[in-house]
Symmetry: C2
Subunit: 671 residues, 2 copies
């Protein structure tokens, strides 16, 4: 690459882009780790994007109508940090850049949502950013349809690398974006032909241009170091009816000895090579030094957004107070006050009517009540709409000609659905939930983990949550998936035992601001066990006494979901034999763990034998089977010990020994 030619062709542009390259080199050298090559290769593209196209205002970083910039190739985090610092985001100080990858810094190895303003999503696990972006772009379409283009009218830009495009989830994202003609989604592919192991063709020879076109994208191919070409491509991309992919031919680690090599992907820390690169750039400044003219030029770019923001703020102020309040509410993730009353009314009705329904149907009953009063909820399913019961009667289907549709047919794409839902939640103004079979938590895992890490309240509706699924067999029967979700930090796993608990779980999931929820719901019908109406949300305590021993308390049965019914029947058997038995319903371990010691001890007092019942493996239950600090409780477990099998559900419960009789026998064997 002829660096000199690049320098002389566009000296003003060159200096701005080189500020990114120099900060990257300096920060990586200081940390002695990181990824230098990508920011150095994509600096030109990013500079043109921020200078000429991106709508942003560093002084109002959370402006709802800003364009979103998503660094899907998150390892190139210094690209984003440099841009945020240079354009004037107050919290991205030079000290933060100096402390790249150090304890307590906002400049983590990969961009972490919530660490600094301007980071729209956490990226690093490849393919996530581009898939989040589909959700961002859908959210924009929905909110524009709802509030009008005067208030909502922006683009979602993505920088994605070869790794993002090789991950399977990218195909799910590409297919969705093409299907829904998300014309405001613009992906800039860092086409540098390098991965960690070598050149891309070691592992892939896919014609990416043809691949994107096959899914209905507009595709442009440019020299990623030519500012005019970048500008022209972005200009064109904003006018098309389809999502656009701009293939940017770039040189990884441009201008460095490691240019165009895998070595260039990683940390370039050799001082001589670093000096030589800066020399080639014509950048005679010290580490972390940005000359004032370059900093001024970048800050001028940052300042421009203020005018646009002010005009938007005025348009917002010109709307009705109700509309302003509604926008503030949904972007603040607040629930309307009436939500609680509606949930309580439903609970009261259910306790009185006591229907026997599957909790997936219970969930639908709740959605029928809450969706009409929450215009920000967006439901969907990964091609299991009739099974997941995620569509309420008021929801029309989101489509190219119905952007107000609040129900999404995600297709057979659990991972893409989860990642796009995260994108919607991150965009703001939308409360996404989506369904699949609980077993396919596996497919959605990478995105579910990121929801927890990012602290966003995405709701995963996981139905058919045990062997109760029946004949579809062990490939479709979760046994370890409750443990998997419970093991994940900052995740609420709700396994309600009836419609009342399902309503309480939904109330908690919807009022959550920083914790995603997994709703584990049955295929099979369950009786209403909460027959006495209580206004209080008992699920909020995580576990509670559903039925106490009538005489001396000799046993405590702990259960969740469909097995609470079995626990209640076992209690009947035991009480008939004079064995006083308490049943504790434990719909949410995480919330129970958060209660104070005294409440936990009241629910699970020392002394009685304890038996847990769950149609899943035991893993994790020992936390509750033995008393804290080695007290003397004996614990037993009735549940699964291996994968399931294909047969009708009642047969499976019987054959696997998950019955009231087995529970009673277990208790007696421990007494």
């Amino acid at each position: 690459m002829d660096i000199a030619a690049l320098r002389s062709a566009n000296p003003d542009h060159w200096k701005k882009a080189t500020a990114i390259r120099a900060l990257t080199l300096d920060a990586v050298a200081a940390a002695n780790s990181g990824h230098s090559g990508m920011p150095m290769g994509m600096a030109d593209v990013a500079t043109v994007l921020y200078e000429k196209h991106l709508k942003f205002d560093p002084t109002n970083p959370n402006w709802p109508d800003r364009d979103r910039f998503i660094l899907s190739a998150g390892h190139g985090s210094m690209l984003l940090y440099s841009l945020l610092h240079l354009t004037g985001y107050a919290d991205m100080t030079l000290d933060e850049i100096r402390n790249f990858r150090q304890w307590g810094a906002k400049t983590a190895g990969h961009p972490e949502y919530g660490h600094a303003t301007g980071i729209e999503t956490t990226t690093g696990p490849l393919g996530q950013g581009i898939s989040n972006a589909v959700g961002f772009a859908m959210a924009e379409e929905m909110l524009r349809a709802r509030f009008g283009a005067k208030l909502m009218d922006h683009y979602t830009y993505v920088i994605a690398g070869d790794g993002c495009l090789m991950e399977g989830v990218s195909q799910e994202a590409i297919g969705l974006a093409g299907r829904h003609q998300l014309s405001r989604l613009i992906v800039l592919w860092d086409n540098n032909n390098i991965t960690i192991d070598g050149t891309v063709d070691l592992a892939d020879r896919t014609d990416q241009v043809a691949r994107f076109r096959a899914s209905g994208w507009h595709v442009l191919e440019i020299d990623g170091h030519d500012p005019a070409a970048i500008d022209a491509a972005l200009t064109e991309a904003k006018t098309t009816a389809e999502p656009t992919m701009i293939a940017c031919k770039t040189h990884i680690a441009l201008g460095h000895a490691a240019q165009d090599t895998s070595k260039g992907h990683g940390a370039l820390t050799n001082p001589d090579q670093l000096a030589a690169a800066k020399e080639a750039y014509g950048w005679p400044y010290g580490p972390f030094e940005i000359p004032s003219d370059v900093k001024s030029a970048w800050e001028a770019i940052g300042h421009r957004g203020a005018t646009t923001y002010a005009a938007w703020a005025k348009r917002l102020a010109d709307t009705s107070p109700a509309r302003q309040a509604e926008i503030a509410r949904i972007f603040n993730r607040d629930m309307p006050v009436k939500l609680g009353a509606r949930i309580r009314a439903l609970k009261k009705q259910i306790s009185a009517e006591a229907p026997k329904v599957a909790t997936r149907q219970s969930s639908e009953m709740v959605l029928e009540v809450v969706n009409p009063i929450l215009q920000e909820t967006v439901g969907g399913s990964a091609d299991l709409s009739g099974s997941n019961n995620t569509r309420s009667g008021d929801m029309s289907v989101f489509d190219v000609d119905n952007r107000k549709g609040r129900y999404i047919h995600w297709g057979i794409r659990e991972h893409g659905m989860a990642a796009a839902m995260n994108g919607m939640a991150l965009h703001g103004g939308i409360r996404p939930y989506g369904g699949t079979f609980m077993c396919f938590t596996d497919y959605a895992r990478p995105a579910m983990r990121l929801a927890a890490l990012m602290k966003i309240p995405t709701v995963f509706v996981m139905t058919h949550d045990s062997i109760g699924l029946g004949e579809d067999g062990p490939t479709h029967q979760p046994v370890e998936h409750l443990a998997i979700s419970r093991a994940t930090p900052n995740t609420w796993v709700f396994r309600p035992c009836d419609t009342v608990e399902t309503a309480e779980a939904w109330e908690l999931a919807l009022t959550s601001k920083e914790t995603p929820s997994v709703l584990s719901l049955t295929r099979q019908g369950l009786p209403t066990l909460r027959r006495e109406h209580k206004a209080k949300n008992l699920t909020a305590q995580g576990a509670y006494v559903l039925a106490d021993a009538t005489g001396k308390r000799q046993a405590i049965l702990m259960a969740t979901g469909s097995e609470v019914e079995i626990a209640m029947k076992a209690r009947d058997l035991l009480e008939a034999e004079g064995i006083g038995t308490r049943v504790v319903s434990m719909p949410c371990w995480e919330l129970f763990e958060e209660q104070d010691d005294s409440y936990r001890r009241r629910v699970l007092p020392a002394g009685p034998v304890r038996v847990a019942i769950e149609a899943a493996i035991r893993f994790g239950w020992d936390r509750w089977l033995y008393g804290e600090r080695g007290r003397r409780e004996k614990g037993g477990f009735v549940g699964m010990h291996d994968f399931g099998a294909s047969a009708p559900a009642p047969t499976l419960y019987k054959e696997f020994g998950i019955t009231a009789e087995a529970v009673a026998d277990k208790v007696k064997s421990l007494l």
Copy 2:
């Protein structure tokens, strides 16, 4: 669809294909559940495939050189069961078909590997079969290169549906197959335009033909109900230099009232409609009744393979005894006797030299010893070769012009890698292992679960297994992933503390015949803790006493992997204060669980306080922190309580309080 025209155009073909349709309708009706439409739609394609192309012998179902038929659209299991029954697989009796989806039957809702011969892999979770198939086809290429075309010369056929192609993992598979020009891989796409939620275009409008071509596939488009067209396409597919995708335009639930609708995807049980469909088919037979002429015609197809098999067996018998023994050995998943000796020699050398290395490097040291004596191992990495240390010096890279290569650059495709490794293991003659960062267990999860369910010994090499990864931060730091793998039935999770344990873990992983292994390995260097050589494989016991208390035993420290070093240092601190402290290394919980009670009690006797140390969340540890059956031990945990952070590893250990001092303090607080 004009059924009458189809019937009259090819009456002999029609009858054979209709036998599949009729069995499907009858079995689903009897079970009152299942998926009728796909077998009814693809019966013609499958009939021509089995009649004219598939090399198989029902009397030698495990013949190494058979063609493999993979039903990626596993919900259409009755297609496969019908074919197996009709062509004469002895274990697929009519009674099994009658018991479709019932307890104990071989005819599970989705095809389960191991339930019946002729089921090559477990499918159902969509996209898995087509991704397994890539591994099957790679295995064939490798073994053909190794043993010659006289012994290894077959094709891999896949039937995949829209769901398979929408799942992201299919893109990883398609990219791999195209890259490696797997010309003997032939995918038959059931292009019926129907998913559960409706027509495919509800969720996807991808031009699949263009998509496959973009990744270097040969693509043909045919009428999936025209036997001549199917035959011609399969004939052509076998001659190309690329993998071939045959887009078969079909009608789901052909000839039934539900034809071409989503309803047709599911269980078609209405008796009148069933009768009407059979009437249209010209099939006047009772439930499960196959007229003798049709059964004979099918059995004749089944018999044909016997001649081909005999010729192959003769060619095999003509080779050297050594070659025959080697082929028998590798297809029987036996290890050579010398493996044990080589592992013991390495252990002895390591105990003497006591190197300080990361366990990922330890793993490489083991591979350098074992790979030269195991020509069936195939290594690889999802674009982290230098980090996962999965390539030994004797391994060349698998490529189009080097089919003997035993190292695979999988690309940034953890899921596709895991699924393809499963395919290799299922094919037989190959022992696959592959690496990525432990955190990306998430991406590979669906295939890892299936390895466990199928009982195949795939080895997942998961490096950078904790916050010890350092600066890359929480997106790359596993905290819940040990729990996730431990929660999965039939999975050995090894977390070795040094090179000796790593060698022992590899020995167990390689000698396993029915259990997949996860090797959880560090990025950071660890001392050799097993300084005294023991020939016995201590890791096989799951946990053992690494260092005992010198005086009265007051505390037991339990740890795995990198935290065993911390436990040993804590022991020093405690012993110095006169607190007798035992250290138990627990490299594999699952194997410890399998030991008898008395061994477990010897290792973890009642009485002393117990503290577990692991740089991961506590979830699952309570199983070991309290005595069985409520004995009085007190338990404490030193580890992670949330996601990690970005900083150098030593800083993280210190900041998160995972230190010898913290462990000693915890013990003292419990005493």
